[in-house]
Each structure stands twice: as structure tokens, then as C-alpha cells.
Symmetry: C2
């Protein structure tokens, strides 16, 4: 079994950096302890090692196709869904009353991470079921919960998100699938949905689409969209009845080929029934819950793919001899050195490690806020929710944008071999490319961050984040060797404030286009700053351990490498903010279309 | 036929920016004129449109395989080789006496660009034949020239470069294929070569490998390597005789699938004869000529792929409605706008245009130096050769590194559709990824730039480049609206000097590892500066036209878009030097292995 992630790093984050055991003090998590947490990770690792990792290449090579309306996917998916269901892993975070295990997201996110690291295409199936089930749990009625949730959590039924339409794409307000009331919460659904992942396959008995549509006569725009359960088979008198959901096409993707992306046609023969979830016209609000979860899921998947690629590259660099070190006097007869000893290869590896582990740390921070919001109340709850809302677009975008670059650097470490099917790098390179598109492109995330999150409640979320970061800065300054980095990060916070002072007035003037024109650059800046924060946070813990504990040699190496990677991030990556701020503070307008402009020939 | 490049832009560069007609004043090019140049481009376009572009997707979908030692590639390759041979396009730049057309490289590089834009995998075949033929022309004896060159230039025989070995990769000094003298310039060859593009296929009668091997008893290292012609079939008494070159394996690549990359086994049965080219032990020196040409070829191919992707993205952005402009008051009922009107999409398109056209301009500059070195003598010749040598690693690395990002942005413009096989973007994304690896990775190029080229002859090449850039700065300052950009670029030259003053002392101290540890970052900085120079150069010409000519509307749009793209590059890309310089001037050493370091767990 190849080494595709580090258990040591997961436990470092879980117990040393984010102190997950503390969560067990809360009533909601009282049945858990370190042992049960470990068991969840071990379960994930077993499923990953035994079922997922071995079929990763096969799922890509034997890409499923649509034949007579059916899609036969790899049979390992059936085994996987069954194993996950039996282990209680699909609904692990849900409450006992709906069959969940009340596992903290902080722990569960690492289980998801392991599954994605082993086989990102396969992990999509359960991630989608889990998210779809949560929508029903939170907003469905009792009958819906009883009918759908247990089957979805057992892995027998597949869940999906059915949002995107051909003419709407990122613009959800233009969703046009229609729903005609039939009474008793039933609606006749008509429309098309595209890019529906796991939207049709043969390894689940039924597929439950959580679908957005517009009830006849509903207001235009986002306030007229409702949420429906649309099963592939509806249950009538206890038996399966085809429900007018037709797989009209399958997308052949560059990567993640093992997860079919479907084009679905609904109700062409007036035979598709949807069941309203919650109140009419509240669909987008409900769906945003699933989307936010899914966004964190995409971030996590990106970090996982980057991690797998990193471990492959690391192993190769440790084994492959090539050339001599540049200071070697005798270039002719000295044996070749391992490529890991070349500074440039080391730089590429440090980049990958910094991205993969920095991203994961940021996602753990989000999970922690999620858990704390779950168990707290009042102002405290609001604070954690706000922090989570603010960080979510960043925690989707940084891992995906930088993850793509990290996997590219992993390929570069392999040279020509990395470009060939001899190693899994080329598949990882293809797979990860979707992540800046899934669940809202980077542009959508960036507009969400700058246009909504940063400014919400008069910047209260940003203030709360600054306080969180300040706490890390204080801790860091107590260590002589970390002081310098704390000062650097402090300055970066100032730089970000400066940029916001430049940009926010445009919003106040109602010039949103100018305000958000370079939102993607602001996003990159924010990503670099919060990931630098996560690295400093990890370095503080590592430094503490190095000073106070008597450690095994391997632990010393582990903690030193954490500090080394933090140093890398501050030296090579964080200074990109200088470039970004230069642009963001510049008055020259370039990308906004003026009336006369007839550009680009 | 899709629009995959702009003829208007090629002619702008050829005649307006680089004034190719001036070359016809030289004796060597005296038979040419604008008409003959145009005809060469038209010929390339016809072959590209009629033969190459239509089979671009097919060559990828029907990937060739190795069956019983043979590789059947797309039959279009045979047609292509024939058409190119008949049109005199393979050896167009060579002298009349060897059957060439004495076409300036400045013109020919655009013909290659057109072919690569249509089908980068196919264009590899002729590029390799052309480069291999040049080696024989320049260093082979008359018999070799007579036997091989005409067949290679007619497209009947395929040429290859056979350098890489399994244990050597980038480290050519470790080449170990052996050559045992048989007398009369013949040698018994034994060894293995890997990643040999077009190393075996069925659309050429014969394949002529230009191969590096070590004559028995030769000195170790790079000074013991010789160059051989190793044909697939040797000619004995006028008939083909198998020559012990066995296709032992084929690499299945992520992209450029239409060009088989072969693992070749030579002389396993003592039956492989190689013919020494030139003097013994001079092989690497000879091969470097081909490699330098090939490096520019890879740069050109990268610019071409980025261009094709850009035109696809541009067309999509002009057709696809999605969302509303952010300043639109009525978001509900206003019809959707074309995505090209969103600032972020426009930013991504400008990035692609800036990279594609800026790279091509840099490559044209290199071709011009190549031509001027060809026709001049003495100090002038030396100057142009020096400029070419200095720019070659940059002109390979910037287009490939930034080209990969540009195609990724093209995919992002398409959203989910770009990730699917419905559009050619995903293939372009896979194809272009090889370019930072081919012909020396970016790390190798960067060490060449900083470690050799910048410092050669006490920095004379860099001085010469500064003078060239200064000339553009002077011209730019005569236009009020370009002054600001000239000043910015002037400052950037100072920044680069500052970085060199920091780094060169390490080389003087013999600490090459420290000197070159961040050579890749210096490379990126140098790339940004010289491409900014190319953009300013283009803007000067565009501005001159806008002020002095009475222009058609489409020309006004063309020139304005050149100035707009220059502004984009200076505002968004060039400021990256601030980040790069911050790191390059930093004293913190991070990537150099110390004795104790047992890093990365």
C-alpha cells in the first residue's frame, strides 16, 4: 500500500492543534472520546486502503458510459457504499434520532479527507448522499425523514444535488425547472438539469435528487425557487415506480471519470413527481446549507488530492538519483544524488506540503467553528457561525486554486514520467482541475467573500477573524524564533485593511462592478493570509513540543519539518500579497467594459 | 473552420513590429519578398486547416499503441508529412545547396506556430525531422548529407532526437549508451533511450535517430559524448536493412497522445550500427544546437496552444449568456448578459491574450536574432548570437509555464463545459502540460539562464539586452500615454540588477548551490520583464498607427486592443516581480539541504 497521506499529521492537527477532545465536554458529543475519534479515522483508513485506493486507476480507465438510459459504474462503488453505510460513516455527524453518530465535524472531515486522498472520484458518492440527507433532516417533514434518510445513510440509496441548468450555470436565479402543484405537497416537475454528479448509476437501488425548481406563479429571481425531493423511483404502496427522471446524456470529463456527471430530463411525459421540502420559495436558502457544506467538501477534496500527489512526489524524489549537487567539486565521478537534494526539487516539495497541510489546517479550523456553532448558543453561536461563513469561500478556493498548482509541481518532480500513465500523478492532475469549478467557481466564491462576507454586519465577521488571528500572533511572540513571523503576519493584516479601505467606498457608491472587479485577487490575498495564520498556528504547537517534551527522533523531525514548512510559506508564498495589493490599490481600470469598448480581436 | 489563431496578429508582428521585409536586403534572403513570406504563411494555413485541425481530436481519441514492435499512428500524419515535404516546408530555412528555401526563421517560426496551433501533436513530427536534418547539414559529412537530408526534407523519412536514458534524464553527462568502433566511421551501438518522440511509427519509410552515445574509452562526463546517426533501417547496396533498433515500449501520456513517445532498445543482438557525426566527443556541443532550436520550438508550441485555447474561450465568452452585470439595477427581469461583460471573465481573457501574444512576440524576437546572426559577421554576429543565447531559456520557459496557466484560465471561462470532451479545451490543457518538461525542465532552463547565460562574458549578453530594451523605452517615451509604462519597465530593470548584485557574489564564492537555489524565481522575474518589453514594443507600434494613419474601424480595434493588453500586463502581471524580488533578496535559506536535515515526514 502506497503512502498517500500521513496519519501522524492528521493526529497532530486533530489533537495537538485543534484539541478535538475538548469537544467531548459538550453534551452533544459526550459519548465520544479520543478512542472513538481514532476509531472513526481507522475505519476510514480501512475502507480507503481496502476498497478505494485499489480501484482508483481502474475507475478512470474504465470510464462509465450511458447505455439505454443506464450507467454501469465500477462495482467497487457498491461495496464502498455498503461498507460506509454499515460502518455508520455516511451519517456519522447527524444526531442519534435520525440514525447518526453525533461525531464532530472536526473528526469527520478527516475521515472524508482520508477517503478522498485514496480515491476522490469514489468519495463523491457518499459526500453527495450525506449532504442531501442533511437537507431532508433539517428542512423535510417527518414522513420524508422516515422514508429517505435511513436508506441514504445506509448507502442503499444515492443522494444528489440537482441545481444547474443548461441556461443558468452559475446564475441560480435563472433556474427555470417548473413545479405544478398537485396538492398534498406533491408537484409535477418539468425541466432539465446538467452536470448532476452520480445523477444516474447502477450501484444504488434508488437515487434521491434534491432539486431546485420554480412553483408556477412564483416570483422571478432567487426568491421564487423551491426545493424538492425528486426520486428516481417513487415509492407507491411500498413498491418502486419509475418517476420520469430520464438520463438524457452523460458528460465525458477530463478527470474524476469514475463519477458520472449526468444530464437529466425531468417530466417530459408529465410523469415526474417532486415532493416539496419545507416552505415554498425558500429553496435557495435551504440549498445554501448543502452548498456551503459541499464547498468545504470540495476544499477538503482538493487538499486530499494535493496530499496524495505530494506523497507520491516525495517518495519519487527520495528514490530517484539524478545529477550531482551543484557545490560538488567532482561532477564527473561522484555518483548521482537523489533529486530531493536539489534545492529546486525541495522547493517544489515544500510548496506541495505547504499547500496540502496548510489547506487541511484551514478546513479543520472551519470544522471546529462548525462544531462550536452546533454546541453553543446566543452571541457565541453567532460568532462561530459568522467565522464559518467568512472562511467558507476561502476554504474552498485556496485549496482548489493552489492545489491545482501543487499537483502540477508534483508532476514536475517526476519529469517525463509524471506525464505518463506509469504513475498516478497524471490522473490526480486531471482530477483536481475540476475543483475550482465545482460548487461555484472561484469567481463566484470571490464575489461571495468580498461582496457579502467581508462586509456583512458592518465587517463583524472580519473583526472576529482578526481577533482569532491575533490570539495566534500573541502565542507566537512568546517564542523567540517565531516572533519575526508573527510580525510579518501582523503587517499583512494591515495590508488587507488598506486594500479594503480602498475598495469598500466603491460599494458604498453603489459601484459594485468596480468594487468586485478584482475580487479574485482579493481572494488570493485573503487565502495567503489565513493559510499563513494556519501555518503559524501549527508552528506554535510544534515549537512548544520541541521545547518542552522529550521526544522520539521521528517526532523531532516531524515538528521541525512543520516549522520549516511554515518558514517556506512565509518566505515564498506570503510575499505574493505585495503584488496583489499593488494591483488592488491601483486606480487603473482595465477589465470593466465601457460603453464604447469593442474589444479583443 | 474554427478561428484558432489570428492572421492579423501574425502580420502585425511580422511586418509592423519586426519588419521582416528588411531582411530581404541581405544577400542570403535576396530572393524573398513580402509576397513569398505571405505565401509561406498561407501554405502553412492551408495544411493546418485542411489536414491538421480536422484530425486534432481524433489523434487524441485513437491513441496509438505498440503492437508487435510496430506503432500505427493516424494516417493523417502520412498526408501531413507528404504535404509538408512537397511544399518544401520541412527544410524551408536551410540553404539552397541542401534543398532548402533560405526562408528567414522570423517567417518560418510563424508557419510552425500556425501548424502547432492547429494540431500540436502533429507538428512535432516535422519539427523533429527539421531539427535532426539541420544537425546532419551542419556537422555531417557529404555522404551523410546526400543520403539522409533529402529524404528527411521530403517527409519520407522521420528524424528524432535520441538523448534521454532511463538513468540519466536531465543529467546528460550520465548518458551511457555505448559505441564500439568498427572503422570507417561506423560504430556498434548498444543501449537504451527513453521518451523518444516519433521514435517509431508507420507513416514514414525510415526513422533517423540522432543519438548520443559514448565511444569506448571516452572520458567520463559531458566531454566523452559523441553524436551518431542511427537509422531504423540502414541502407546496404541500396536496400533497407533492419538496424537493431527495437521499440521496447510506448509511453501512454496524458496529452499529445498522437505523437508516440518510445522506449528504444539498441543493439541487443550486436546488430545496431551508428554513423559518427563530426568529431568524436563533440556530440553534446552539436546536440546543443538542435536542443536550442527545439527549446524555441517548445516555446512556440506553448504559445500556439495558448492561442488556440484563447480563441476558443473568446468565442465562448462572446456567445454564452450568464448572469447580469453587477451594476445592473434590475437583476430580476433584465436578460442575461454575455459572460465577456463580466470583469473577471475579461481579466481571464486578457491574461490569455497577454500570455499568448506576448510569448509569440518574444519568440519572434529570438527568430530575428537568429536571422541577423546568420547574415552578419564579426562583432555584430557575436552580439546577435549572444542575445539569442540569453533569451532562449526564457523563451522556452515563460511561454510554457504561463501557457499552462493560460489554458487553465481558458478552461475556467468555459466552467464545467471546459472540463468535458464537448470542447477541445480539455485536450489543450492536457497537451500543453508537457511543455515545461520537454527539452529541459524549467529548472534546467533556469539554471542555464542564471548560471550560464547571465554571467557569460562578464554579463555582456545582459548588457546587450538592456540596450535593446532601452531602445524600446526611448521610443515609448515619445508617446504621452506610454511614458508611464516605460518608466515602470525602467524601474524593473533596476530591480533585476539589484537581485543580480545580491546573487552573483555567491557564485564568486563558489557557492553555486546558494547562487542557483531560487533560479526558477529569477527566471520568472526575467520572463515577466522581457515579455513586458515585448508588450511595450507592440504598444509603441500600435500607438504610432493610431496617431498617424487613417485606419479602418477593425484596425482601430486591433491596435487599441494591443494597448489594452499591454496595460493589462503592466497592471496585473509585471508587479509579480515585487514578490519575486522580495524572496530573491531575502537571506533566509530554506531549500538547501544541510548535513543534519532529515526532512519531510
Amino acid at each position: 500500500m502506497a503512502n498517500y497521506f500521513s496519519f501522524r499529521n492528521l493526529k497532530f492537527l486533530l489533537y495537538e492543534v485543534f484539541d478535538a477532545e475538548k469537544l467531548t465536554q459538550y453534551e452533544h458529543y459526550r459519548d465520544h472520546d479520543r478512542q472513538s475519534f481514532d476509531m472513526i479515522l481507522e475505519t476510514a483508513k480501512q475502507i480507503a486502503d481496502n476498497i478505494l485506493y485499489p480501484i482508483y486507476r481502474e475507475m478512470d480507465e474504465k470510464e462509465p458510459d450511458l447505455v439505454s438510459g443506464k450507467v454501469a459504474v465500477h462495482q467497487g462503488i457498491g461495496k464502498y457504499l455498503k461498507a460506509m453505510g454499515e460502518a455508520g460513516m455516511i451519517g456519522a455527524t447527524y444526531s442519534y434520532e435520525v440514525g447518526g453518530g453525533q461525531v464532530p465535524a472536526t473528526v469527520y472531515s478527516l475521515a472524508s479527507f482520508i477517503l478522498s486522498a485514496a480515491n476522490n472520484a469514489a468519495s463523491m458518492y457518499t459526500g453527495l448522499s450525506s449532504g442531501a440527507a442533511r437537507l431532508i433532516i433539517n428542512f423535510g417533514n417527518q414522513e420524508q425523514k422516515d422514508l429517505y434518510v435511513p436508506k441514504m445513510l445506509s448507502g442503499e440509496w444515492q443522494g444528489t444535488m440537482a441545481l444547474t441548468e443548461p441556461q443558468a450555470g452559475s446564475s441560480l436565479s435563472d433556474v427555470s425547472a417548473s413545479a405544478k402543484p398537485l396538492g398534498e405537497g406533491k408537484y409535477l416537475i418539468k425541466g432539465q438539469k446538467v452536470f448532476i454528479s452520480a445523477g444516474e448509476h447502477d450501484q444504488a437501488e434508488n437515487i434521491i435528487h434534491l432539486l431546485l425548481a420554480r412553483i408556477e406563479g412564483a416570483p422571478a429571481g432567487i426568491k421564487g425557487i423551491s426545493l424538492f425531493i425528486v426520486p428516481k423511483y417513487r415509492i407507491e404502496n411500498g413498491s418502486f415506480q419509475p418517476n420520469g427522471v430520464v438520463a438524457g446524456g452523460i458528460y465525458h470529463k477530463m478527470g474524476q471519470k469514475g463519477t458520472p456527471a449526468m444530464h437529466l430530463m425531468l417530466g417530459d411525459n408529465n410523469d415526474c413527481i417532486g415532493y416539496l421540502v419545507g416552505e415554498p420559495h425558500q429553496g435557495l436558502k435551504y440549498m445554501f446549507q448543502m452548498m456551503n457544506e459541499a464547498r468545504l467538501g470540495v476544499g477538503l477534496m482538493s487538499a486530499a488530492i494535493a496530499t496524495t500527489a505530494y506523497y507520491h512526489a516525495l517518495q519519487y524524489a527520495n528514490e530517484r538519483p539524478q545529477g550531482r549537487r551543484l557545490n560538488e567539486k567532482d561532477q564527473k565521478t561522484t555518483p548521482q544524488t537523489k533529486i530531493i537534494n536539489h534545492p529546486d526539487v525541495r522547493r517544489m516539495l515544500l510548496f506541495q506540503k505547504a499547500v496540502a497541510e496548510g489547506s487541511l489546517s484551514l478546513l479543520m479550523e472551519c470544522s471546529r467553528y462548525f462544531d462550536l456553532a452546533e454546541v453553543s448558543a446566543g452571541e457565541e453561536k453567532a460568532k462561530y457561525q459568522m467565522l464559518l461563513d467568512l472562511l467558507t469561500p476561502i476554504a474552498k478556493t485556496f485549496p482548489s486554486e493552489y492545489g491545482i498548482k501543487a499537483v502540477s509541481e508534483a508532476m514536475q518532480v517526476f519529469g517525463g514520467y509524471g506525464y505518463c500513465k506509469d504513475f498516478p500523478i497524471e490522473q490526480l492532475y486531471r482530477d483536481i482541475r475540476i475543483t475550482t469549478i465545482y460548487e461555484g467557481t472561484s469567481a463566484i466564491q470571490s464575489q461571495d467573500l468580498l461582496g457579502r462576507k467581508v462586509t456583512m454586519q458592518n465587517g463583524a465577521a472580519l473583526m472576529a477573524l482578526m481577533q482569532e488571528i491575533s490570539q495566534t500572533l500573541q502565542e507566537a511572540t512568546t517564542y523567540e524564533n517565531l516572533k519575526k513571523y508573527a510580525e510579518t503576519l501582523q503587517k499583512e493584516l494591515g495590508r488587507m485593511q488598506q486594500v479594503l479601505q480602498k475598495l469598500i467606498p466603491f460599494a458604498m457608491q453603489g459601484n459594485y462592478e468596480r468594487f468586485l472587479a478584482d475580487a479574485n485577487l482579493f481572494m488570493e490575498m485573503a487565502g495567503l493570509v489565513v493559510v499563513a495564520w494556519q501555518w503559524l498556528k501549527q508552528a506554535v504547537v510544534a515549537q512548544k513540543q520541541l521545547l518542552t517534551q522529550s521526544l522520539a527522533e521521528s517526532d523531532v523531525a516531524f515538528y521541525e519539518s512543520k516549522i520549516q514548512t511554515m518558514r517556506y510559506f512565509f518566505a515564498y508564498e506570503l510575499p505574493k500579497t505585495k503584488w496583489l495589493a499593488t494591483r488592488l490599490l491601483d486606480d487603473e481600470v482595465i477589465t470593466i467594459v465601457e460603453a464604447k469598448a469593442e474589444w479583443i480581436v
